[in-house]
């Protein structure tokens, strides 16, 4: 068994050693916010926080997460309230199809957790590993700036 914390709750996973954290979240825990788009660490749609750090969950094995804390998009807001990044994404229309959105948000959430007022360059760097095929980048940047400057 693999014990870990997911969105603040203790869970025990019974998975094959080869199962990725992404597949464990999606198939075993039913947390389908993180998306499987490339399954090889190229696109960022599966980004979650592992002990506060943004990781591609398709490149992490679930069994390597023993006693670690995982935060997914489902755990981003607090007490039923949206995170300021989530509010800013809606206000700036920082998505179209929405498929990459959980990953974009988690990549930014890791930065905002670490730096209260990140610079434009830090925001750009945090987002540089997350593809958006709809091409919403300009609005994603605007949302990140809005959340920072609020």
């Amino acid at each position: 068994m693999t014990p870990l914390r997911v969105n603040g709750e203790h869970v025990e996973l019974d998975v094959e050693p080869r199962r990725t954290l992404l597949d464990a979240l999606r198939a075993d825990l039913g947390l389908t916010g993180a998306k499987k788009a490339c399954d090889m660490g190229n696109c960022g749609a599966c980004t979650v926080l592992l002990d506060g750090e943004a990781v591609y969950s398709c490149l992490v094995l679930a069994v390597d997460c023993v006693a670690r804390a995982v935060t997914t998009i489902e755990g981003l807001g607090e007490g039923g309230k949206l995170h300021r990044l989530q509010e800013a994404f809606i206000a700036a229309d920082a998505f179209q199809c929405g498929f990459c959105t959980p990953g974009q948000l988690m990549a930014l959430a890791a930065l905002f957790e670490r730096v209260a007022r990140p610079s434009d360059a830090q925001i750009m760097r945090a987002l540089s590993g997350n593809l958006c095929r709809c091409g919403a980048y300009q609005h994603i940047l605007r949302a990140a700036h809005m959340a920072r400057d609020r």
């Binding site: 039913g30 998505f95 199809c97 750009m124």
Partner: protein, 647 residues
């Protein structure tokens, strides 16, 4: 500012996509694909896979019905015609097990000769006037050949579905741009009545044309679910997405343009070859000749395109199919012609743009909207001819006006409304814009409107999201149903015909400012300024998303994206998101949306036209023209890479 109705669902992970469906007993499926570009299958032995614990079914030509598929092929054809062609499929307890089992299926192939160049087939050709005379009478003739690459859609959500049966009723959660198109096709392939198939698309993660038809995976998932008696989920992996889920066809366009000294176009001659891939899958709609026949006023035009059948992945519509390709060549050539004539490139366009549809021989509903777009962009970029690094292109697009049939139902009670339609929101914001139109008609706030879409079950027909047509098709219907429901509480409406004697099109213009590093060939796009005629703009925020999205995709098309096929093996060498170079956040310039709302009252009662496709059309030509303006180097082939610039 009205934001997307489904915004909260999309930022919390609650929005459910086809592969997010979780059902008891859900099986995962994997498709075995041909490793050869052309081969005959001699023998398939699936016994090792079938014996693997956790494997529930294997399907191949050895044990499944021969369902006719594109051209003269079948679902699991015994002849495979490109690397990625479907050979077999497996359903197992997990994704990993399904992949294991797929590897255990032993397929013996007899490799056949393959062709990656292709032979030109019968042309699709249109002509008017006398091109030879137009060229003879020209003072200047420009002759040039332009090439565009095969581009891959690479929507972040792969094609996929979850299929389950209740008796003889099939339900499929599908990632599609056309729930009714998929319903009808799946029903036909499986020999079911259409009403026995239900397609649901709550949210979908991008399609850009590649999800406007029914692909094999849906029928495969349905057959596996039938055979196992369990729900089956089948999502393509990224490699399959790049091999076997469609592409924008590569083109070669040989042009001759003739013009008088004063810039009047006397002849347009376009001979085009299009690489179509291994099959006609339906939904290619790559009308490369279209813009040659319509964008500019010219009495003598001949445009023909020939498809080349090759042993590579099949082409399918990709955002403004044919027009993105044709516009790159035509608008590059117009720029070259302007230089030869010594006429300002923008002035040449203003002298020649068409105000009537010369293909259909009808006036446009909004004949001056292109002039307005051109002048708005010119003002916003402070256009000055030969300002280094500034390039311009105009475009037209035959669609955007919508068309019948389509239906909508509106219920109105206690100051709240429920709108039911049979379309899907592919990320463009259809849900929100339709709610706004209903709210305005009913005189209530948009938060009081609930829109139900993405489900064939209510039986209200809606069209495929294609041709930038969804809002212009459904908007007038929803508005009309709302008008009736305001009196009666409940009403249905049908889409009326478009005006008979007029032609509805969309159009626009873009300017690009960029710099080229003369040592490395690096192109840095600094700013793109765009104005597009999409009729009345219902939601400026969502319209700007379409504009920035289309331009961002176009940057990839212009500068970095290309499917690379090994000429000796026929394999796609960059079938992944690392080596197929999509634009990233760090690659984008400032994008200025200078579009203005231009209600087109003659088009339909809402004055709305589409904006999904147009923004991708003129960017590549504007970039090529800006590069010429910056460097004096004319690149006639996409993508415009550093290698080509340094050479």
């Amino acid at each position: 500012m009205i934001t997307r109705l489904e915004g909260a669902d999309k930022v919390t992970g609650r929005a459910r996509y086809a592969a997010d469906v979780r059902l008891p007993g859900l099986l995962h499926a994997h498709i075995v694909r041909s490793p050869y570009p052309h081969a005959r299958i001699r023998h398939i032995d699936a016994s090792r896979a079938e014996r693997l614990p956790g494997v529930h079914a294997v399907l191949s030509s050895a044990n499944s019905p021969s369902i006719p598929w594109h051209d003269a092929s079948s679902l699991f054809d015994r002849t495979v015609r490109y690397i990625g062609d479907e050979v077999a499929a497996v359903a197992a307890d997990s994704d990993e097990l399904a992949a294991d089992a797929a590897r255990l299926i032993d397929v013996q192939y007899e490799a056949l000769a393959f062709d990656l160049v292709g032979e030109a087939r019968e042309p699709k050709a249109e002509a008017r006037g006398d091109v030879a005379r137009g060229l003879r009478e020209a003072d200047v003739v420009l002759e040039a050949t332009y090439r565009t690459q095969t581009a891959l859609h690479n929507a972040l959500e792969p094609h996929g579905c979850t299929a389950l049966w209740h008796g003889d009723q099939l339900t499929v959660y599908e990632s599609t741009q056309g729930i009714f198109a998929v319903r009808d096709e799946v029903a036909e392939k499986l020999g079911l009545a259409a009403q026995n198939v239900r397609i649901i698309t709550e949210h979908m993660g991008g399609g850009f044309g590649a999800k406007q038809i029914a692909w094999k995976h849906t029928v495969i998932a349905a057959l596996l679910a039938q055979r196992t008696g369990r729900p089956v989920q089948l999502a393509l992996d990224r490699a399959s997405e790049n091999l076997a889920a469609g592409n924008r066809n590569a083109t070669e366009q040989r042009l001759r343009l003739g013009a008088k000294r004063d810039g009047t176009l006397s002849a347009i001659d376009a001979r085009i070859r299009v690489e179509a891939g291994a099959y006609s899958v339906g939904g290619e709609d790559s009308d490369v000749i279209g813009t040659y026949l319509t964008l500019y006023r010219c009495a003598n035009v001949r445009a023909e395109q020939r498809s080349l059948r090759t042993n590579a992945g099949p082409a399918v519509a990709f955002r403004a199919p044919g027009y993105a390709e044709g516009n790159f060549a035509l608008e590059s050539a117009i720029d070259e012609l302007a230089a030869r004539l010594g006429i300002d490139a923008l002035e040449l366009r203003l002298r020649n743009y068409a105000t009537r549809d010369q293909r259909e021989d009808k006036p446009y509903t909004a004949p001056e909207s292109l002039r307005r777009c051109i002048t708005r962009v010119a003002a916003a970029c402070e256009w000055r001819h030969q300002r280094p690094g500034l390039g311009f292109a105009a475009h037209d697009w035959a669609a955007g006006g919508g068309w019948p049939p389509a239906e909508a139902e509106v219920e109105f009670a206690h100051g709240a409304a429920r709108v039911i339609v049979g379309v899907q929101d592919v990320g463009t914001g259809s849900r929100t814009a339709l709610a706004q139109l209903a709210a305005a008609e009913l005189g209530i706030g948009v938060e009081r409107v609930q829109v139900e879409l993405g489900d064939t079950q209510p039986g209200l027909y809606g069209p495929t999201s294609a041709g930038s047509a969804t809002l212009a098709t459904l908007g007038p219907v929803v508005q009309e149903a709302a008008r009736l429901a305001k009196k009666s509480g409940h009403a249905r409406a049908q889409r009326g015909e478009n005006p008979k004697g007029k032609s509805i099109r969309t159009c626009g213009a873009q300017a690009v400012e960029l710099a080229v590093d003369r040592d490395t060939g690096e192109v840095t796009v600094k700013r793109v300024i765009a104005a597009h005629d999409c009729g009345r703009i219902v939601n400026p925020l969502l319209q700007s998303s379409q504009v920035i999205g289309g331009i961002t995709q176009a940057l990839g098309y212009a500068l970095s994206e290309k499917r690379i096929v090994d000429a000796r093996l026929g394999d796609v060498l960059n079938a992944n998101l690392e080596e197929y170079k999509l634009p990233t956040v760090a690659d984008i310039p400032e994008i200025v949306n200078a579009s203005e709302s231009m209600p087109d009252a003659e088009a339909n009662a809402t004055g709305v036209k589409g904006c999904g496709e147009p923004p991708i059309i003129p960017t590549a030509a504007a970039i090529a023209n800006a590069i010429y303006s910056a460097t004096g180097v004319r690149i006639r082939e996409l993508p415009i890479t550093r290698e080509k610039l340094i050479r």
